[in-house]
Structures are given as structure tokens and as C-alpha cells.
Amino acid sequence: MEPAIAALSEQIRSAAASRTALRIRAGGTKDFYGNAPLGMVLDPRPLQGIVAYEPTELVVSVRAGTPLAELEQELAAKSQMLAFEPPHFGSDATVGGCVASGLAGPRRTASGGVRDFVLGARLLNGRGESLSFGGTVMKNVAGYDVARLLAGSLGILGVLVEISLKVLPMPVAQSTLRFETSAATALRKLNEWGGRPLPLSASAWSDSMLTVRLSGATAAVRAARDDLGGELIDDEDAMEFWRSIREQTHQFFAGDTALWRMSVPSTAPMLTAGDQLIEWGGAQRWLRTLQPTQTVRECARRAGGHATLFRGGDRSQGVFAPLPPALAAIHERLKTEFDPAGIFNPDRMFAGL
């Protein structure tokens, strides 16, 4: 084991021996996400750098503590990208935090989420042992796909050491269009367009404005632009707009009112009244509301999805929708298998886990 990994492994083993909670934290840009972090900090940033990157293989292997911005810069130099367009929420975001939080940006509906691009992962489990799942090839069904399971696992199963991600070429052409329309009409249009072979790569509705992004071959983007109409947004403004949606610097996200993330079928009708920003073709709806947790959760559940208290609000009931008993039991047993002493990020996902 190389020194940086061995040191982390040692920290884990001594924490396990004394049953000391460890809070896995690098840049701290996602401290707000999930239930309140607990325990002594374990900082994976000694794990630095891109281990292997071959643009023609469409794969990059990178150490978990590497800054996300550094990785994206390397990819951009070869005209490639992380297709799930992850939010950074600050300049200190790392690749490990990006994968562990499992948060995807505007391209989610078109390209897939974080887990869709995870090909392999090295992990230190709760015994400080190094495990290696998946690999660096596109297709791999040897053993259970634990690497994908780690995307969005909030560090409860172990410390990510290295991650292999599938990358994609940047689109040749891109255009952003804007339409003035009600939420109901926007939802209808987005679902109708989703059923047609259009190069839609992002959508956002708020404040009576629907903005969509087209990405792909030059001819396809041009044809779709002519087909859909709307107001063409200047490229630089468009880039800034999509960044503000991804990084939540858009004015919708300003202020202290509780921010809920509703993940629902894209066809769900307009949800409870309240200020809303709709993304992902209708499948992700941001809601600013003072309504009680029960009401918001019930509303998402009836729509066929779930609600997460993303920022602020009353977090006493946990920020994630509770699991049904059969799933909760599987979660508890998985946790015990990977982290028998229960030291990693306790309560971060669910109280008691």
C-alpha cells in the first residue's frame, strides 16, 4: 500500500478500534448536503492526481482527492467532459465528493447520472482494507456492480480512493433557446419533445420562462433550432445561465427559505403551490416552501417520486425520504458488511445508519 493510502487506512483502523466516528471531508463544498456531518475529519486530499487518462478509451482514472476543476480542465483540453455535468458548489470540490454525493447537473436527463459513468472504484472499507470494484473498460459484468453503488452513497460504506469514469466528447455545436410559457405548458412541451429525436441536453423553467439547450452535431442543432423556434440566447449568456442553474447561483436559489429537491416522473403535473424551478425535462423540481416536511414528502410520493430537503429548513425528521422496511434492512446489513464498527459518516444518510 502506498504511504498516502496506508496513512488513511491506519486512521480508519484506529477509529474502528476505538469506535470513533469519522467524517469524510475534503473541500467541504457539500457539507450542507445530507444530515449534519458528525465525527473526526478524515481528509482524503492526500490522494491526488489523474492516474490514467486515455482520451481514445473514453476513460479517466483519478484519485478521489483531486480537485473536480482540475479533472474537468484536463478533459476539456482533449475536448472531452464529464457528461453528467456535476455541480461543484465551490472551488474546493473534489472528484471523491462529486461521486459520493452523486449529484448531477443540467445534462442528467440527456446523458445520465453520476452512477451511469462510474466504471470502477477503489475503496477503503471500515477495516481499512483496500477493495477494488469494476474496472476501466466500458462493459464489465464481473461481480456485483459495487462501483456504481458507491455513487451517491455519501461515504457511508467507505473512503473512495480512486475512481474510473467514462467520459464523452464535448458536443460539436450548442444552442440555447428561450420561450415565455406557463409551467404546465412547459411540462407538456418538454415531455413531447422528449419523445422526439431532438438533441435536447438541458432544460430549466422558472418565472414563466422555459430555457432549453441543444447539443450535438452542427446539422442536428441547427435543424432543431429551426423546428422549435423560441428566442436564441447569446452563447456567453447561455453558458452563464446554465452555470447558474448547475451551481445554484441563479436568483431562484437566493434566500433562506427551505429548498426542496423533488425527484418525480417528468410527466407529473405541477406540484404544490410554491416557488418552483423545473429541470431535467420535468423530472427534477426545486421547491422553495415553508410547508411542513410531511406535506412536501406526501406531495412527492403521490406524484410517484420523493423529496429531499436540500438546503435549510427543519431537518429534524431527516433530509431524505425514509425507506420502506425491506429496503432499510438491506441498507443496515450492507452498512454492517462494509463498515462493521459503524464509523463512516454516521447518520449522514439516515439516522442510525
Binding site: A142, L323, E337
Partner: protein
């Protein structure tokens, strides 16, 4: 005595290994592990409380059709076959088996190629064949909800009136079922662009081994908690029994066109694949056939392959007509500068289908050229395709068997077809050793022993090479988390410590002994 899950596994493997070495084709089944008649009677008796008589098979003449899946080298007579007709019955069968400590092996259309659905000598084979209804196609939401026994192609057929289809298209798609696709995380020729099963399934409803209903994923694009859906897909029926699947549907491309390019050297063809990707193109399909494969399929499929080429590439573009025109032009440019010796572009849908006919008929053509063929499934980094082909050529000499190659070149997934005579035990042994060496080579090249066919029972040994013991133990931990009693499809995917120790010993001598000494266990 009730059977304790897993304890028969080592014996089971030995039995299979021995029978394949010593006997010719017709006698495999007779060599499968004997059935404990007393246990059988007791389980059948209990099943009769749950299922109608027609849904329980236990006489040898009735259970024989279930003795193997698509990997016919491995056979085992099931103790009992249960064919439930309602989800409640499935749950009751699982509850009964859980209480009685009887292993359960779920089974779909049994087209799998790694023995994932190989029956258990002391277990119940749970056929999901009766669950063959498309429950709902929602054109507006672009989803379909189906029962696990619905065939892959039937989903696309049901979605066609909406201008939609289900993207993953394994070559067995006429016959294979979505339940099996979920178990194996099936791919296909278009998965570089459109993804595998895991990228195209929203929700799996199922039952745990205890018979409790569970739902993985959901109607939205994510679900709270750990992404268990990601691990259930590809778990080879070991974590839960799938009872319902909701898939994503995607708009049918308006047009698809295919380029057929010839190369004088396999290394050039490999380089061409890398160049296409480097140019920022993700083709809808990117397949390679070597000369032996072209010569094998051409008389059979009349696809028009260049028989003098060392390798032929099929490179497909789909989308709007404008998009396809643009992409085809760029592909041609790249292929030309990658030293293609000839390039043809399909000018009609019939033309395109003809190009593909050869590739899609590679397996049946292999079946004609030799008494049997053994299809391997390693995946390697794309850039090493040429090197791998050269290594396989050397192995052809070493083992005295020929091996045409077809590849999903776009994602580095190899399908070498080892031709052998399954009536000759010596030929079977050589084919097996040949296949094992290809897989070992894939791992050494930084790849994997299976890209899309699964581990099943076939690649248990090679799992020992690909993963260290700690990681294999972690797989066992995942298994325990879903199925603490270890009764659901036991003995597949994860090799035992003992097995790996034995395999390690065999491997050390593999270069000295042409056929590793028979009693390996």
C-alpha cells in the same frame, strides 16, 4: 436433513468438470448430481399446497428441458421445477424454500451464456415464464412497465406505435427476456451510444429470498438511499427475484446508415477504432470481424464482406438525416486516413441490414462450421485489440483449434468463437483451456473476464484472477446483505476461497501441462 445452502457447491462443480472431461455429448445430463428423492418428495408435497399440479415438475422427463441454459457444457437435473402463475405464488414458493432451507434458482428464457441459470441439485428451479405480459406502455412518459418474462424485442414492438423503442439489443433479443437482461446487465451492439441495461431501467420490483416485496429505483430518475438498483442489475439472480421491470424508452432515430471498411492489417483496424473515438464521434455501432470470421459468415449471410481483408469494421451512424450525413462524412474521412483499403456505405435500409447480417449471424455460422463453438466474452482496452488478436492467433496454434473473432470494437468487448468437437473430450478440454487463457489474457491487459455474458458458473475460476480475496469477500458481503441465508442462486459468480486456491495451483503449471490434470478439486 434440510439442505444447508452452498455446502454442495464444491461437489457440484467437480461433478460438472469431470463429466465434461470424460464423456461425450449425450451423457452430460446423466452425470449431473443425483437428486435426493426424499427431499424431493417433501418439497413437492409442500409446493402442492401453494401451486396447481401443472405448475410443479419433478419427473426426469419433465425437468430435463431445464437442465441447462445457453451454456450447454454445464448441465444439472433440477430437483423440482416450479412454474408459478401469480406473484403471490412466487412469494409463497420463496417463503417455503426459505423456511425449508432449499436453494432457489430463478430462470427466464435461459438464453444466458455463462450458466447463471444452471439448476441446483437440491433446489427449486423457479421459472418466470408465465409472467409474459406488457403491463403498460406510456408514450408520453417514454416508459414501459413489463413482467419479467417479456422478451426484449417485444418491448420495442409494443413501443413502436409511439415512435419509441427499448435501446439495449443483445443478439438473443428475439428470445431473451427482460428479467434475464436485468440479471445479466445485458448489452448489445448499440450500447456504446445507448448504454447497457443498467442505463435503461428505472425500476425493478422484486421479492427477496424471504418472499418480501422490494422496489429498487422508482418512477423518478433516482430514489432515496443507496442506489441498490445499480447493484441488483447484473447480479445474476442472486440478490432478488425480479417480478416487474420499468424501462426507459427512447425515440427511434429517423435514419441509420452503416459504413463497411476493410483493412489490410488488424492493427490498422484497431487503430481506426481509436481514431474514430478520438475524432469525438460516438458511433451507434462499431463492430469488427477478423478474416476468419468474415470467411465463416460470408457463405452463410452473403453480407458482401471483403474476404481478402485482414479485418472488416462496421461503423454505424443514426439520427436525423442531416446528422447522419454529417457524421458519415466525418467517419469516412477518419477511416480513410486510418488506412482503410476499401469503404462502402449502405445506400438503403436493405443494404444496411445486409451489412449487419454477417455480424449477427456469426454464432449460427460458427455452429455450422464445427460441431460446437465456445463463445468467450472478455473486454479489453480498445487500443489493445490488435495485440489481443495476435495473442489469440498464437493460442490457435498452441491448442490446435481455430478461433474466428467478432468484437464489439467500440467498447473493447471480444467474442472469440473457439471451434471444437464436443463429442471428443480431448477437444472439449483444449477448448476450455483455450478459453481460460483468453480470459486470463484479458485480465492481464487491464480488462475483464466478462463484458456482458456474466460469470455464472463458467468463469468462477477466472474471478480468482481478476479480483483479490478481499474484494471477493466484499461481494459475499453484498450477497449476505440481500440474502442472509444464501439460498438464492447459490454458488454462482463468487468463487470460494478453496476454489481459488486450487485454481492458483493449476495456473502455475498451465504452461507446462497442455491439459491441467483432471481431478482439480
Amino acid at each position: 436433513m434440510p439442505f444447508r445452502g452452498g455446502s454442495l457447491q464444491t461437489d457440484l462443480n467437480r461433478q460438472h468438470y469431470d463429466c465434461r472431461m470424460e464423456s461425450a455429448r449425450p451423457s452430460y445430463s446423466s452425470r449431473s448430481l443425483p437428486i435426493d428423492r426424499q427431499l424431493q418428495l417433501r418439497v413437492v408435497g409442500r409446493l402442492r399446497d401453494i401451486l396447481p399440479q401443472r405448475a410443479i415438475l419433478f419427473r426426469e422427463e419433465d425437468t430435463s428441458p431445464y437442465e441447462c441454459d445457453g451454456l450447454t457444457l454445464y448441465r444439472q437435473q433440477p430437483m423440482v421445477v416450479a412454474i408459478p402463475e401469480t406473484i403471490e405464488q412466487v412469494a409463497d414458493v420463496l417463503k417455503l424454500c426459505h423456511a425449508e432451507h432449499v436453494p432457489v434458482v430463478p430462470r427466464g428464457a435461459s438464453t444466458g451464456l455463462s450458466g447463471s441459470a444452471l439448476p441446483h441439485a437440491a433446489g427449486v428451479l423457479l421459472s418466470m415464464a408465465k409472467f409474459n405480459r406488457v403491463l403498460n406502455v406510456d408514450g408520453y412518459a417514454r416508459t414501459a412497465t413489463v413482467q419479467p418474462g417479456v422478451r426484449n424485442l417485444a418491448i420495442s414492438e409494443a413501443a413502436a406505435p409511439y415512435g419509441l423503442y427499448y435501446a439495449p439489443d443483445p443478439s438473443s433479443q428475439i428470445a431473451c427476456t427482460i428479467g434475464g437482461n436485468v440479471a445479466e446487465n445485458s448489452g448489445g451492439v448499440h450500447c456504446l451510444k445507448y448504454g447497457l441495461t443498467v442505463h435503461n431501467v428505472l425500476r425493478v420490483r422484486g421479492l427477496t429470498m424471504q418472499g418480501d416485496p422490494v422496489e429498487f429505483g422508482g418512477g423518478a430518475q433516482d430514489a432515496p438511499g443507496l442506489d441498490l438498483l445499480a447493484v441488483v442489475i447484473g447480479s445474476e439472480g442472486m440478490l432478488a427475484v425480479t417480478t416487474e421491470v420499468t424501462v426507459k424508452l427512447v425515440p427511434k432515430p429517423q435514419l441509420a446508415r452503416c459504413i463497411m471498411a476493410s483493412f489490410a492489417d488488424v492493427a490498422d483496424a484497431g487503430q481506426a477504432v481509436a481514431s474514430v473515438i478520438a475524432a469525438g464521434i460516438i458511433p451507434a455501432g462499431l463492430e469488427m470481424l477478423d478474416q476468419a470470421a468474415c470467411r465463416l459468415v460470408e457463405p452463410f449471410a452473403n453480407a458482401g464482406y471483403d474476404l481478402n481483408a485482414a479485418a472488416v469494421l462496421l461503423c454505424e451512424s443514426d439520427g436525423t438525416p442531416a446528422e447522419v450525413e454529417e457524421e458519415i462524412a466525418r467517419m469516412i474521412e477518419v477511416l480513410q486516413s486510418a488506412r482503410a483499403t476499401s469503404i462502402k456505405v449502405s445506400s438503403s435500409e436493405a443494404d444496411r441490414l445486409r451489412f449487419w447480417a454477417g455480424r449477427k449471424n456469426a454464432f449460427p455460422a460458427a455452429g455450422r462450421a464445427a460441431p460446437a463453438y465456445y463463445c468467450m466474452d472478455g473486454t479489453i482496452p480498445r487500443k489493445r485489440l490488435g495485440e489481443m488478436l495476435k495473442a489469440i492467433q498464437e493460442m490457435e496454434c498452441k491448442y490446435g483449434l481455430s478461433c474466428p473473432n467478432v468484437f464489439h470494437a467500440g467498447d473493447g468487448n471480444l467474442h472469440p468463437l473457439i471451434l471444437f468437437d464436443d463429442a471428443d473430450p480431448e477437444s472439449v478440454a483444449r477448448a476450455e483451456a483455450f478459453g481460460a487463457e483468453i480470459l486470463e489474457h484479458s485480465v492481464r491487459m487491464g480488462g475483464t473476464v466478462t463484458g456482458e455474458h456474466g460469470v455464472g458458473v463458467e468463469k468462477l475460476d477466472q474471478m480468482c484472477s481478476q479480483f483479490d480475496r478481499l474484494t471477493l469477500d466484499a461481494f459475499s458481503g453484498v450477497k449476505r446483505a440481500f440474502d442472509p441465508a444464501g439460498l438464492l442462486n447459490p454458488g454462482k459468480v463468487i468463487p470460494t476461497l478453496h476454489r481459488c486456491a486450487e485454481y492458483g495451483r493449476v495456473r502455475v503449471h498451465a504452461n507446462e501441462v497442455r491439459f491441467p490434470d483432471l481431478p482439480r478439486f
